[in-house]
Amino acid sequence: MQETEYTIFELFRNNPHAEFSTTEIVERITPGYDKVHQDLLSTDSERLDAAKRRKAKLHRINLYYLNKLVRKGVLTIKSVGRNKERIFAALQDPKELSPAYRMLAQLHPIGITPALGIEGFEEKGIVARYEPTTWVERVNSILLESTYFKTLKDLISTANNTLTSVNDAIALNDFEQVIQKNDPQTVLTALKALSKQADSHARHVSIIIDITNIEQHDAVLRVIKGAIAEELRNLTFIYDVQVKEFQDHKDFFKELVKIYSGAGQSLFIKNQTVHQAPYLIGRTGPYTFDERDWKLYRNEYQGTMPGLVCGTATFLIDIERLFSNTKEHQTGAVIELMGKIAKSLLLTNAEQRERSEHFLQGLIQLSPDHAQNYFMFSRNYVRFWNYGWKTPAYDQAFVIAYLSESKKAVDEYCLSEETIYKSCGMPTRFRIAYSCTDQGSATKLFSPANYRRVTIHSPTDFFSNDEINTTISTKEDIFKQFDGGDRITFDRPLPKKSEDVVNEISYILNTFRLPFFRYHFTNQSEIPLTRYL
């Protein structure tokens, strides 16, 4: 609901039996309308004309929202007054439980969320809500199925609209099929337009390329090369590859390495053999779906829905700060905090779902039969910052243990709540996933990053450097705890031969159970210590 629309709605909620003309509504809800009123009485013709124009504009804007509220069944046109001005009143009929009654009775003011019980932790900088201003007005991330849309234009149009439904990221799944069906230049132009739109909304777009479906390497490479050259930095291509098919596409990856290392950009690889569900990247970190959910979705729903919600609401936690406030029983402190967070998310989700009719309107209109299904596989996120991985002060086994124990408690709570709500005839999805926090989201909120980097100089590093292997091995365990997605970044000085990097990637894919990793190419000999991994 837009701000003006909501303000009008509030006016009628506070005066449920009142009738207002358009002029009265404009006067009551426009801040500083007195100035316009004064200018309308002015003898200075310039001021008078400006005031008349301003008044007319305000009437037009308000009429737009008034008519919208009439269409929604919230207001009614009670009569037509002097100068053919319409008189509006709230349409209320509690007995009939009309849409207006439901809204009047249930909708809460924008931006005001219920007391969550974690405010004290927020004050101490231990916990933060991601995008608190749109906390219940948006979801975090949505995956769109490129192949659902008949034309590129339809896909991009929906993607543009969906940017307003999220507060972090969207993804276009199986985008290689779109590239292969269209002229690469047209696709590139469309991506540029989408990037521009994403930029204005400060959102991120993941373009998922399933290597299995690539038949036209040149067309795909042309689009990627163009996007990298255009520096569409809020668009990230994610290459989803199965281990066994990597060799067949080796030349394609060589070209990719050339493109990305040449531009000094990051190459994101997803290992489909380890994790089948797609990964997407937001400004706050990675997102993915639960593997069992994804299997069900693929078997039963894929192809029938334009997309689905991935992340609903996110809490960020600075574990270093939590532990600095809790010297003993640190695992207990995490479990206790997670209990409060889980309760907060339960409240938040209820508010969020109530509003979903509005902010998911575009997707619902595309496929009304699935109106109740968009949240079917969604999860809330708890993202950890400075959680102890590769921090010398922490025993790595302790890190795994506190993550695992607190996750078990959270999962039990979620399952209980789903059961309770389902039993009450209110079946709703309520899950919480763990993941990492991107440095960009954490910098302003939390303690400074204390991770060490993993730098790969050549393929032999994997054989000769025990520290790298130990680090990756721990990361494999953390991936198991971070069921909402995780990533590991390998800093890579610019290679002399792109084949070296391809061999390294092949080794990683074949050897480690890392679902998602990033090769970050840099020509700097010194990589900042704060590099997030």
């Binding site: 439980l97 439901r102 779902r353 009719e357 109740q372 079917m376 709570y413 005839g425 209110m426």
Partner: protein, 221 residues
């Protein structure tokens, strides 16, 4: 068959019976589930303490049970809330977006023919629910209303009943609806009977169930 005067005693007896005589199996979420088939529970006077089981659950402060007015609202509100895959109210008051089973059928029927055996309310929508892929489907599938001795007796059939978490809400909702119909028909509320074709509890609930079974009546009312 369990027959008691009030809801709390019925709940405790039912939990105890499943705990003692149920058979264990693992469900699709890999949880150990203890189940008894076809448990019939009759409560003579549900109005006495119908919310007591819910209050008892809330005493543990471990879960967040929806507030009573919300639970009641769900069975009386004819509009499907966007946050739920289905809900009971629309199934009763706006079945398949066309028919109000309560106000247009059961209430007039009982007014015209108080002895009727046809006052059935159906939650199960074959066109929506009888699909192999569908996971979110009603548990409470049918209510039968019998007006005898100027008292409205209601029987509910629950196909899958988590007796620990679910039955208290089911009982409360049936009672709310019973009150609504009784007030429109102009009669008193009578007994409520639930027939749970799968009555079950989960292993992780056992410690709480044992605590509840040890509670004395005055501790929970």
């Amino acid at each position: 068959m369990i027959k008691t005067k009030n809801a709390m005693d019925a709940w405790k007896e039912c939990l105890n019976l499943i705990l003692d005589e149920g058979k264990d199996y693992k469900d699709e979420n890999n949880r150990v589930c203890r189940e008894l088939l076809n448990i019939v529970v009759e409560i003579e006077n549900p109005a006495e303490d119908v919310a007591a089981p819910i209050h008892t659950l809330n005493r543990f402060h471990k879960w967040d049970y929806p507030p009573l007015d919300r639970i009641a609202h769900i069975i009386l509100d004819k509009k499907l809330a966007p946050e739920y895959a289905y809900s009971y109210g629309p199934r009763l008051f706006n079945f398949q977006n066309t028919f109000n089973q309560v106000d247009e059928f059961v209430i007039p029927l009982l007014k015209e023919n108080p002895d009727s055996r046809r006052a059935i309310l159906n939650f199960w929508d074959v066109s929506k629910d009888s699909k192999t892929i569908k996971r979110d489907i009603p548990s409470l599938i049918m209510l039968d209303c019998k007006l005898r001795d100027n008292k409205l007796n209601v029987t509910g059939i629950i196909r899958s009943n988590d007796v620990f978490f679910g039955w208290p809400a089911n009982m409360y909702q049936i009672h709310v609806l019973q009150q609504y119909i009784a007030s429109k028909v102009g009669c008193k509320t009578g007994s409520i009977t639930t027939i749970s074709t799968s009555a079950h509890i989960f292993r992780d609930q056992f410690p709480y169930i044992e605590t509840i079974l040890r509670m004395k009546r005055e501790q929970v009312i």
